[in-house]
């Protein structure tokens, strides 16, 4: 693949040096395709084709008597309703936890992005770097650190017990609260960055104008700032919800067997049970559900703006 890319690049270069007058027109028409070819070929081979392979695997059944992991193509469409029936609680949980995490991340990320974009002045860039900074420690290490923060002897449980928000033996370890807190935490920067981008682009004079027209702070925010930041809200919620709905690391490290999400099931069907058709059917259903949601959003925001 790499050689393909360099061939395309060198062809484009060679054409650029030699093609002076007459040859210039057809070459120019060819240039975008040569630029696109290697990248799109890679995505076609390693994204689109695998999705088709996933679709075909989801319609396979076990070969009777054969060893584990051997399946044959039988176009058994019932794999889908079967998988959905068996794992609907995990599906519901994945979407519930991801939805809660998205709402919480929006509630935390919006004021954060607002403060950085409009109140930080010369500290803007530094604060923005600090929002991205958590990415640089490993995602898994941070999630495990959450386990320590929320442990029984940790600070959060201590404070909640002192405030009687948690019983004296109450615990956050291996609970759904810990899973949602972990999801919110891990995807908060994905929420904050697009919000920042749209708020930073906003002309502050528009809010001033609203004030001049006797709008109070709340009305000015509701009628001017919020509508102008909607592209950021849409992009941020998508960038948080999509990875959160498919995540299994938080549920595995912070939850208990009662908090498993659909990602955990896909993972264990693949590796522990070697039940490829069910894992493929579940993956396909997850992708379909998320894409349906995304396209509702896209109709409001437009593809170009999201890409």
């Amino acid at each position: 693949m790499s050689s393909l890319g360099s061939v395309a690049a060198s062809t484009a270069q060679a054409g650029g040096v030699t093609g002076a007058e007459g040859a210039a027109v057809p070459r120019r028409r060819r240039t975008p395709y040569l630029l696109l070819l290697p990248g799109l070929l890679w995505l076609a081979l390693f994204f689109a084709v695998p999705i088709l392979a996933l679709g075909s695997t989801s319609l396979q059944t076990r070969v009777p008597g054969a060893e584990l992991g051997v399946y044959t193509q039988t176009f058994r469409w019932a794999n889908f309703p079967d998988a959905l029936r068996e794992y609907s609680p995990q599906f519901a949980r994945a979407f519930l936890y991801a939805g809660l995490a998205t709402v919480l991340a929006l509630a935390i990320g919006y004021p954060l992005a607002y403060a950085i974009a409009l109140k930080a002045g010369r500290w803007k860039n530094l604060l923005l770097v600090l929002v991205i900074a958590p990415f640089f420690t490993s995602f898994i290490l941070r999630t495990i650190a959450w386990r320590q923060v929320l442990a029984d002897e940790g600070p959060v449980v201590g404070v909640l017990r002192a405030l009687h928000l948690l019983g004296s033996t109450g615990s956050l370890t291996a609970t759904n609260v810990a899973v949602v807190a972990g999801l919110t935490y891990n995807f908060l920067p994905f929420m904050t960055l697009p919000l920042y981008a749209s708020l930073e682009r906003m002309d502050p004079r528009l809010v001033e104008a609203a004030g001049d027209l006797y709008a109070n702070g709340l009305t000015g925010f509701r009628r001017v700032t919020l509508p102008l930041s909607m592209p950021g809200v849409i992009a941020g919620t998508l960038l948080t919800f999509i990875p959160a709905a498919g995540d299994y690391v938080n549920a595995a490290l912070l939850g208990n067997p009662g908090t498993t999400m659909i990602g955990n099931i896909i993972d264990s069907r693949f590796f522990r049970v070697v039940d490829y058709p069910t894992a493929a059917a579940l993956s396909f259903l997850l992708m379909a559900a998320i894409l349906a949601l995304v396209f509702v959003y896209i109709r409001r925001a437009g593809t170009e703006e999201l890409v």
Binding site: P38, A44, I144
Partner: protein
Amino acid sequence: MTATVAPRRAAAVRPSTARRAARWLSEHLVAVFAAVAFAYLFVPIAYTVAFSFNDAGRSNLVWQGFTLDNWSNPCGAPDVCRALGNSIQIGLLATALATLLGTMVAFALARHRFRGRTATNLLIFLPMATPEVVLGASLLTLFLNLGVDPGFWTVVVAHVMFCISFVVVTVKARLAGLDPRLEQAAMDLYATEWQTFRRVTLPLAAPGILAAALLAFALSFDDFIITNFNSGSVTTFPKFVYVSAARGIPPQANVIGTAMFVLALAIVLAGQVLARARRRG
């Protein structure tokens, strides 16, 4: 106005301080909230950093005492440095390939007219809108069908795949912000299309390409889910941490996490300072 306000202010000193505090809070509410949000972001990182100095034997969950041993011997835990080496090699290869391919696509999208733009945008967008678990599972399905044993190279292939889209978006954003008249001016001065690209467009796009490369490396280095599906017996750093979570993570993993954090922060901050100095000078 002043006549009515003055006696009232004199009469009630206490409510006015309360009111002043309330006003201060309402004016700085956003700032206070942002400070709390930053604390939320940094508490787990503080834990990660602190526990890299923990004098822990095998399980690094409870504080035992301060030590520098982990830092003086970061490869002390078996396999941790091999996993780190794999992660760095995979990250560099995936970054180089994804940045090259993604930048080419971004130039085509931003600077050329062609048929199939909508389909191209869709193919770039879909991998970003697909959960990692689906990307990982589908790619593994393909490799299993083809009889390819997952390992080092399948991880590189997977990482290039999910990094391309992010490179395209980042570089395209930079190109969209450039003034096209600069390129037109170069052409007016008899530069060929290639000379214009190399001497004008490429230098102007360079910060965007660099940012895209950094993003690609960060995404590749920190990826766990797709890697876990397609790596077979090869271990990367995140996979090492996840697998050893059950038995207890060696403090050396925290050392490496902290070192990467400090290094990346230093690179980004140096870039910011450099950009500011160039803007001034």
